[in-house]
Symmetry: C2
Subunit: 157 residues, 2 copies
Amino acid sequence: MSRPPQLKVTSSDHNGVSVIQSQSHASAGPALPPPPQQVPQPSSPPPGGKSASSSAAPGKMKKASADKDSDEYRQRRERNNLAVKKSRQRSKQKAMDTQQRVNQLKEENERLEAKIKLLSKELSVLKDLFLEHAHNLADNVQPPAGNPDASPAPNNQ
Amino acid sequence: MSRPPQLKVTSSDHNGVSVIQSQSHASAGPALPPPPQQVPQPSSPPPGGKSASSSAAPGKMKKASADKDSDEYRQRRERNNLAVKKSRQRSKQKAMDTQQRVNQLKEENERLEAKIKLLSKELSVLKDLFLEHAHNLADNVQPPAGNPDASPAPNNQ
DNA sequence: AACTATTGCGCAATGC
DNA sequence: TGCATTGCGCAATAGT
């Protein structure tokens, strides 16, 4: 009792309808030369096969045929398949775009940081110049007589 | 309302062995009551092999049955399903992470730009101070003799 | 050689 | 009513 040998559903027996791929999915597949259409579709019943319709699921499929055999069903499926494909393609594209955006932003970030570094350095230089100048002033300030320590403390920073 | 009350496949209890819920996938997804697993037909074998056993008919495919009824087959499928799920989950997670990264980077970019703006302003101020000072010097410079234009031109930048 | 990871695909439910 | 999204399982294939 480990595995019921009965097929699960398999009602998907398909028919011999010739609805095969009507759509021209000219999508540029990556590498799928051999169209292994593994769809639940009867590509072609066994040669010499009989047309017996009974499938593994011997249920009642008289009226049921209007379910999957229906031209409309097939048509809807096909449309949906197309939509799905499109949607997924878009999704993938979006993901790639996002990834690219990340790279772009990273680059820009680096640029900005470099700029900041440069500006900081420039500022530093200027400030040093200021300090130096201040010192010079302090040195040149005329001492009030016997008071060489008249420097008002530059108060750096 | 487009879905008629009649079920299609899976009608049978279809042994809920494990195909569906194998792991804790308490995802917040919509309730997926019936495991509507479709059952595609064995893919058409690649060129070369002529499988004459592929038939939907409820025959006595002994060897063939060992294909899908096999315990091992089922097990492998299950494992793969798990792997697929995992892989997709990861993929999705990654996408989200990437998107978040974009936001993060954008924020950082703004911060950096603000900083640049600030530094630029500071620099500008300092430079102006320098210029002003230079002018003062020029004004105060004691003209060596009718030569008030002794300022060596600050030559900014 | 056996297994997992990825990927394309179709189906069906569900979201607009 | 119809396309768009999304979860899911299958099978082929790549990667270990």
